[in-house]
């Protein structure tokens, strides 16, 4: 059995300074607002414990039946510049993929350049790189819109 693995990099310039962006990236309620992987899906908070060694859980999927569970475990939280966490996605109690995510925040004037590295390992043999890229690009597009709106409102 050959593991289906991939590693992906993303970079986005976002409208908020690092301290405000950090809250948006790590606060479980903020993540509900931008973290859904595709249009028409939701990310609903079940429990949150954002600290090194802590664990968040969300439900994800179609609004009428979010059948996936997203289990987030925080490894490193060096606010507001570095976060390392894993996400394991399950359906019906069975893991379908797990990923290790690194956020790097670099100040850029009043904004922030966000670097994201995603290492993913799939258990279901699908196009793990393609699916992961699609999901993250969608989520990061949501994040750009969300942070721009927060910047206009002046609150985060």
């Amino acid at each position: 059995m050959k593991p289906d693995t991939a590693s992906l990099d993303f970079e986005r310039r976002l409208a908020l300074p690092p301290a405000r962006l950090w809250e948006v990236l790590t606060d479980a309620r903020h993540r509900e607002q931008w973290g859904a992987p595709s249009e028409g899906t939701v990310l609903e908070l079940v429990e949150a414990d954002v600290r090194e060694g802590g664990r968040d859980r969300h439900r994800c999927g179609p609004a009428e039946a979010p059948e996936f569970t997203v289990d987030t475990r925080w490894y490193r939280l060096d606010a507001p510049l570095l976060a390392v966490f894993t996400e394991t996605v399950e359906i019906g109690g069975e893991a379908i993929f797990t990923s290790l995510v690194t956020y790097r925040l670099t100040p850029a004037g009043t904004a922030t350049v966000l670097g994201v590295t995603v290492a993913v390992s799939s258990f279901v043999g699908v196009d793990v790189a393609g699916d992961t890229r699609t999901g993250w690009e969608s989520g990061l597009a949501n994040l750009e819109r969300y942070t721009s709106a927060l910047d206009r409102e002046g609150t985060a």
Binding site: T5, R73, R76, L82, V84, T86, A119, S121
Partner: protein
């Protein structure tokens, strides 16, 4: 550094059945024999603990007294997915002298080959600041898997 440069795969054909090989990862005494007690001269184990279950952790603190890489090296592992005798997925960070320098996602698979087990170890890591990076992790695991093979062959001696 490209994504491909942050990944490596190691393959070992071992003369033991998948149940025996898996036990060397799952049982604390067997894991310790190749993962901890096989360290060469100059290394001192300061702490080690294994809680092998989904969501469980493994932590180790190892000090190299002198020479290149001298200092306290620590691993902090969380087991994410365990399929007995088939697959283990875990995330771990490596720190030196208290500073985390890499975070990794690793997958180990165990495949029956008829006369033994094919073990495939795949790791992708993110470097955090100055780090020995993929070469350090690859070199470390090449050594560890060599120790695992030696243990399975019944050749490991204390120290």
């Amino acid at each position: 550094m490209s994504a491909a440069d942050r990944s490596f795969t190691l393959t070992r054909d071992l003369a033991a059945c998948p149940a025996e090989v898996f036990a060397c990862w799952a049982e604390a005494e067997k894991k310790r024999a190749w993962f901890v007690d096989s360290d060469g001269p100059g290394w001192e184990t300061r702490a080690y603990a294994l809680d092998f279950r989904v969501g469980g952790t493994e932590t180790g603190s190892f000090e190299l007294k002198e020479g290149p890489g001298a200092g306290v090296h620590e691993n902090a592992t969380t087991f994410l997915v365990i399929e007995p005798e088939r697959r283990i997925d875990f995330a771990y960070t490596m720190a030196m002298n208290g500073r985390v320098h890499s975070a990794s996602l690793a997958t180990v698979t165990f495949e029956e080959t008829g006369d033994g087990t094919r073990l495939v170890f795949t790791e992708t890591l993110a470097e955090i600041g100055e780090s020995d990076g993929v070469n350090g992790r690859r070199g470390g695991w090449e050594g560890l898997l060599g120790h695992l093979e030696t243990c399975l062959n019944g050749e490991m001696t204390d120290g």
